[in-house]
Amino acid sequence: MKQALTGNEAAAIAAKLARVKVISAYPITPQTAVVERLAEFVANGELDAEFIKVESEHSALSACIGAAATGTRTFTATSSQGLMLMSEMLFVASGLRLPIVMANANRSLSAPLSIWCDQQDSMAVRDSGWVQLYCENNQEVLDSVLQAYRVAEELLLPVMVCFDGFILSHTAEPVDIPGQAEVDEFLPPYKLPNPLDPCRPVTMGPVGVPECYEEFRCMLQEATRASKEKLIEVGRAFWKHFRRRYGLIERYRSNDADVLLLTMGSLGSSAKDIVDSYRKRGEKVGLVRVRSFRPFPVKELIDALGSAKAVSVLEKDVSPGSAGALFLDTAAAFINVKRAPLMLDFICGLGGRDVSSLHIREAVRAATRAAEIGEVRKAVRWLGLREKLVGLRI
């Protein structure tokens, strides 16, 4: 049945529908409402689960690791500073191959302290071996959490479902909530091959001497690569059950486009409006939205972007001293491709800065100009910077 839900509520309801058994989370803006709603579900008996109100995010993920290893479906949620505090444990969760699902309300990183949205937090932990899905709207948040459990538990890989803080987490949108029976059919019960059990003692997290360490990391890389096919397969299964289609990327009017926008998260919706307005004026502009940033959809992006002349990457993160993470990996995907489009990187929307239609149009114009002159003079640019404040010409 349809209901107006914020992103946080969508994540909480998805966790309830997935019949999670252990929740271990710590409050942090803007994710806190996920934790609060789950606490209400447990208190009202709507959800039969143990809720560990841990004393820090580092312990939040540690408790999830303990619970998942003991054979229960676990859930946690966090944002920015919390995600950074638990970043050591992100590597441990993926290394131990534990299928933990986490909702991450994207929030920018301090210092200076900022509670508003950008994607620097989840981008900063892109190496940790977690599958990372970025959602455009609250329906996708709910659906992605459900799909995340199937992908995680069939591949033994933790999954992070990211959605923009405040823009999605605190904005109510109509969301179709599937019935419990349908979800039970889509999502089989949790089963771990070697759980912690006195009847069959196992040792988890041993010392990996150099003779076998690299092989384990290679297995983890293969698993993350295999999660591409698994995401597509689970997306198809989801379509059969709930009639909503999800893949690694979303292509919006991009087949014949000369200029393409490439972005992630809720920025996709605003970019679609701009694409429509350009299309009305007959200009071949399109959009590709990356939903799965890890595993990085190399083949899919080559197919989607290959035909364009120029691509403008719009991303809400930056790796200081280099460029944006989406731009870096997309460039890596195209490095040996003969006919690669020109690429421009636009850092925008940091710390909650609004990315207005004017900014997106500026990105499209820059890409069109680059396509005309056939080269990119300045690959990395910043959109929406208030020069007065910084006191210098850009």
Binding site: L98, L156, P193, N194, V202, T203, G205, P206, G208, F216
Partner: protein
């Protein structure tokens, strides 16, 4: 050796495959005459190589020669003798 995902070890107690006897320079020698069967040597052994009984058995495959049993034996029935290499 087949690697398990997440490096899970499914055979408990498998360090017994690795014998630590090469570590010692002294080994405990038990004088069964003096031994009273009190079991303190069994209790205090950090590597659990001594079995209870009068006199106690020593599993020389794993004994590291730390000498605690000899030092703690109330009847002075255990002495540390140099390990002769074969």
């Amino acid at each position: 050796m087949k690697l398990t995902p997440g490096a899970v070890i499914t055979e408990p107690g498998s360090t017994t495959r690795y014998q630590t006897n090469g570590w010692r320079t002294f080994r405990p020698a038990v004088d069964s005459g003096k031994c009273t069967g009190c079991g303190l040597c069994w209790l205090y052994c950090p590597d659990a190589v001594i079995s209870r009984g009068k006199p106690p058995g020593v599993d020389y495959r794993y004994c590291k020669g730390c000498g605690i049993c000899a030092n703690e034996c109330p009847a002075k029935a255990i002495t540390m003798v140099p390990e002769e290499r074969g």
